[in-house]
């Protein structure tokens, strides 16, 4: 077992983890934050996206030990109490989801995209979400959600 320190959604944790445990396993199983999803476990779908030190990462292919000392935001850390983050609000209003399994990852990737670019073009949005697979929506409503979120953030 290895000892690591993580800050997740602003809260500090000291954890004992197996050396081969992924960050995803630690988030879901040890911290009980099941909003982060596992779609493939192989870095191919983005369902497990979390924000690590400002970057969107696939937590299924990040070893927990690699995340030692890092700042992590999961989907549970986005809203402030009952108040949704503008990206969450936009996905809700524009219908940027169906089954919702890709949604936490999609929203976090969108947040990172918009943190770096408040005026994304259609091309920027498509590129920014390329790592997040969605089987249900055909992405159209997701693109609309991202645009609406950008507008909310600019206001």
């Amino acid at each position: 077992m290895e000892q690591i320190k993580l800050t997740v959604n602003g809260k500090g944790y000291e954890l004992q983890v197996r050396p081969w445990a992924s960050l995803l396993e630690v988030i879901r199983d040890d911290l009980g934050l099941t909003g982060t999803k596992e779609g493939c476990g192989e870095g191919e779908c983005g369902a497990c996206t979390v924000i690590m030190d400002g970057k969107a990462v696939n937590s299924c292919i990040v070893l927990a030990v690699e995340a030692d000392g890092r700042q992590i935001t999961t989907i549970e850390g986005l809203a402030e109490g009952d108040k949704l983050h503008p990206v969450q609000e936009a996905f809700l209003e524009m219908g940027g989801m169906q089954c919702g399994f890709c949604t936490p990852g999609m929203i976090l990737s969108t947040k990172v995209l918009l943190d770096g670019n408040k005026n994304p073009t259609d091309e920027d949005i498509r590129k920014g979400l390329e790592g997040n697979f969605c089987r249900c929506t055909g992405y159209t409503k997701i693109f609309e959600s991202v645009k609406a979120a950008a507008q909310k953030i600019r206001r």
């Binding site: 879901r28 934050l33 099941t34 909003g35 982060t36 999803k37 596992e38 779609g39 493939c40 476990g41 192989e42 191919e44 779908c45 369902a47 999961t74 989907i75 549970e76 986005l78 809203a79 949704l84 969450q88 609000e89 996905f91 809700l92 209003e93 524009m94 219908g95 989801m97 169906q98 089954c99 919702g100 399994f101 890709c102 949604t103 936490p104 929203i107 949005i125 498509r126 590129k127 979400l129 390329e130 997040n132 697979f133 969605c134 089987r135 249900c136 929506t137 055909g138 992405y139 159209t140 409503k141 997701i142 693109f143």
Partner: protein
């Protein structure tokens, strides 16, 4: 027409807040104290006789609590029809496809369970195997199931009119061989369940099922328990699209059995690779299609001979093969029709239902063949469609197809005309046709899909509308939302009928201990049939409320209206109270005044005529016309789809956001199937069982999509609605392939139309611009 207050509004999904906050719990998100983990052991051989399964080493591994093998299930099998129950939870005497389950382990963690699976030793004798469906049904092929010695798992032979005579009299007759791909549903959430076998004889599962009541019956039958003791609690479902999540999988039965053996809760979650290797996929079908036409392009007859690769077991395929045949007389008038189908058992993974079930195969063949013939006759793609398309029946009239399907509404002509006016089609000749090595083309399709499908046996949906004393409402149904948005639509229907606001409705997800039995989420039936049940239940509750208020106000209940959560006297609207007040009056109006409305859907349609193909496959039919713009790189064969315009007749979109999103998602899934989705097989082994190697559309691949509603207000649907989730999945492939034809001048008859196939065809035709 009455103005709706809720129907037609762009409301947010009823579960949207939970989903965007990460609070929506899916099967894998549930856990219980002391829970064990289950992994399934599989045999990496496509066809073999099992001689012995030795689990002793696995059982001795520290952390392992129990191992289950086939014998624990005492020979129990399940399947769609009484005479096709051929699938065991774990392989008994032999395995029939690569990686079929042979045992399962429960251990204190996943690592131990996985290691134990590797320690299970199976002695087996490999058997001759068969992978091609046409080979499989030839004399002397290796036999997959002894009860079907010719490997024909399902066959139908239907005949309407006189095709032979009609072909003889036709001006033009064409025969082609089409093939559809080995596509998969591709949902993001792999199968999972948390199971608890209470030693008192109860089973509780939190299972990822889009049709939880199939599973409920399977568990009762498998474990010999009464249905009253089976509790399937439906979590949020991470996508369905038919097949696996309608059915049960090895892990489902094994987790319950292991829980029974250990006295602990047991959870399994398949890996995505496991899912893509073994889970039920779409049939790949070979369609030998023959079509006759008059000189001016009227279709005179169609004859389809279909050979489907069924894989190792029957599953739901009697229905698949029915749907593959029955909808060919839509959306064009068809006077003569013959259908012969053979579903072959092979040693490939099991094939079953998937979105666009059955219809997608034959509609693709007919649509492309019709265009090929129109081309030969010099008739334009719009004209050929318009002159064959079925007219919208006048109110009160019915259109009857040659196989006795009946339509009360049909928006196909309006849909085609709408597309003709849309800039993508109208200005297609003005748009550039060539840019560097890329050729552009625009293609069209016109298709239909059924709503309100029926399987065998139980068919009706039920709903309960419970009024709370503060004016809020619990809506209880047996319907499952696997993403399509039905919970939202059902809540909208309840709100509209009752006269309250959408946000006053609370939707209860399936818990088979409390919710009414429901057939499930398949065949685009939920909005149509559960919707009808909800509407009836809401009307019942409303009647009870108004009866009580009528007594209070000393007026007849018919004189009172409820709208927008306001209750008022029709002829004296100043006499009004808010709905919550009415709820309180009613709930307190006497001892036991509990306001509960109940409703059922009608049985919809007669049981399917499997033997003769006559009768309705659904209660109503949606119609879709679609245009696609594609760019084909003539050097590399790479296809880029830039635009879809979809004109969809779903009767009336109840929740426009949901209906659009279904159309968009369905069409994109259809696009994947048309141009790249395909399992690459090697002697029964799936070579590309990952999201990386089994390519599905990503954000960078999808076109701009415009959805246009064609409103026909079907008299049988709740508030005029018909299906809205599968139509565009059927319309996309032919429209994409027609666009590729427009760009390249070549008709492709085999899905997926990959870059390799395009380059090969261009070379063959001498059209490839590269160096040979």
């Amino acid at each position: 027409m009455k103005e709706y207050t809720v129907i037609g509004q762009r409301v947010p999904r009823i579960d949207g807040r939970q989903k965007v906050m990460g609070q929506a719990k899916y099967a894998a998100d549930y856990s219980l104290p002391g829970m064990l983990f289950c992994k399934v052991a599989r045999l990496p051989v496509a066809h073999a006789k099992i001689l012995n399964v030795d689990t002793s080493k696995a059982e001795r591994l520290p952390g392992v609590k129990a191992v289950v093998t086939a014998k624990d299930f005492n020979g129990w099998t399940w399947g769609f029809m009484a005479n096709t129950r051929d699938e065991p939870p774990l392989a008994m005497d032999k395995v029939r496809y690569y990686m079929e389950a042979v045992a399962a382990v429960a251990a204190i963690d996943e690592d131990a369970a996985e290691e134990a699976c590797d320690l299970i030793k199976v002695d087996y004798e490999e058997l001759p195997s068969v992978f091609d469906p046409e080979d499989a049904i030839r004399e002397g092929a290796p036999v997959v199931h002894d009860y079907r010695p010719n490997n024909v798992s399902v066959e139908y032979h239907w005949n309407f009119g006189d095709v032979e005579k009609s072909f003889a009299e036709s001006y033009l007759v064409r025969e082609d061989r089409f093939r559809t791909s080995r596509a998969t549903k591709g949902y993001l959430e792999p199968p999972a369940s948390l199971a608890w076998y209470d030693p008192a004889g109860y089973i509780t599962v939190w299972a990822a099922k889009q049709s939880p009541y199939f599973h409920y019956r399977h568990l009762a039958a498998c474990f010999g328990l009464p249905l009253s003791k089976i509790r399937v609690i439906q979590p949020f479902i991470g996508g369905g699209f038919g097949g696996t999540k309608n059915d049960s999988v090895a892990g489902d039965f094994c987790a319950v059995m292991l829980s029974k053996m250990t006295g602990k809760p047991v959870k399994f979650v398949y890996t995505q690779e496991e899912e893509l290797t073994i889970s039920k996929r779409r049939h790949s079908m070979i369609v030998y299609n023959k079509m006759g036409m008059s000189k001016d392009g009227l279709i005179t007859a169609i004859q389809s001979r279909v050979i489907a690769d069924g894989g190792g077991y029957t599953a739901v395929s009697p229905l698949t093969m029915y749907l593959t045949g029955c909808c060919t007389p839509l959306p064009y008038k068809l006077p003569n029709y013959k259908y012969d189908c053979y579903r072959a058992f092979t040693n490939n993974p099991i094939c079953a239902a998937m979105r666009g079930h059955g219809v997608t195969h034959t509609r693709f063949a007919c649509e492309i063949q019709m265009e090929m013939m129109a081309e030969e006759l010099g008739i334009d793609p719009v004209e050929i469609r318009m002159q064959n398309a079925i007219d919208n029946p006048k109110p009160g009239e019915i259109y009857r197809t040659i196989n006795d399907m009946t339509l009360k509404t049909c928006g196909i002509k309006e849909a085609i005309q709408t597309l003709v006016r849309d800039p993508l089609w109208a200005q297609k000749d003005k748009a550039p046709k060539q840019d560097g090595s890329v050729s552009y083309g625009v293609g069209m399709s016109a298709t239909s899909y059924l709503g309100g499908a029926r399987q065998l046996g139980h068919q009706s949906c039920a709903a309960i509308v419970r009024i709370c004393e503060d004016g809020t409402v619990n809506l209880i149904t047996g319907a499952t939302d696997c993403g399509q948005g039905s919970d939202t639509v059902l809540a909208m229907i309840a709100a509209e009928e009752l006269g309250v606001r959408y946000q006053d409705i609370d939707f209860k997800m399936v818990d088979s201990a409390y919710t009414p039995v429901d057939p499930g989420s398949y065949g685009s039936r939920v909005t149509v049939l559960a919707g009808q049940a909800v509407q009836t239940a809401a009307a019942d509750a409303k009647k009870q409320l108004l009866d009580i208020l009528g007594r209070e106000w000393k007026v007849s209940p018919e004189e009172i209206e409820i709208r927008n959560a306001e209750v008022y006297h029709r002829s004296n609207p100043s006499r009004r109270i808010p709905f919550d007040k009415l709820a309180k009056i009613a709930c307190y109006s006497g001892s036991g005044a509990v306001i509960i409305g109940k409703g059922y859907s009608g049985y919809g349609i007669e049981p399917l005529g499997f033997e003769n193909g006559r009768g309705n496959a659904g209660t109503s039919f949606s119609f879709t016309a679609q245009t696609t713009r594609a760019g084909v790189d003539m050097e590399t064969g790479h296809v880029t789809i830039s635009d879809f315009v979809i004109a969809h007749d779903c009767g009336r979109p109840l929740n426009p956001i949901g209906a659009e999103s279904q159309n968009e998602g369905g069409a994109v899934q259809g696009m994947g199937q048309a141009i790249y989705e395909d399992f690459i097989m090697d002697r029964g082994k799936t070579l590309n069982p990952t999201f990386l190697d089994y390519k599905m559309p990503r954000s960078t691949d999808v076109p701009d999509i415009k959805v246009i509603d064609i409103i026909t207000d079907d008299p049988d649907g709740p508030f005029g609605a018909k299906e809205a989730s599968e139509g565009s999945h059927v319309s996309a492939p032919p429209s994409v392939v027609a666009a590729i034809h427009d760009a390249t001048g070549i008709w492709f008859k085999e899905q997926p139309v990959t870059a390799e196939k395009i380059v090969a065809a261009l070379k063959e035709k001498g059209k490839w611009p590269g160096k040979q």
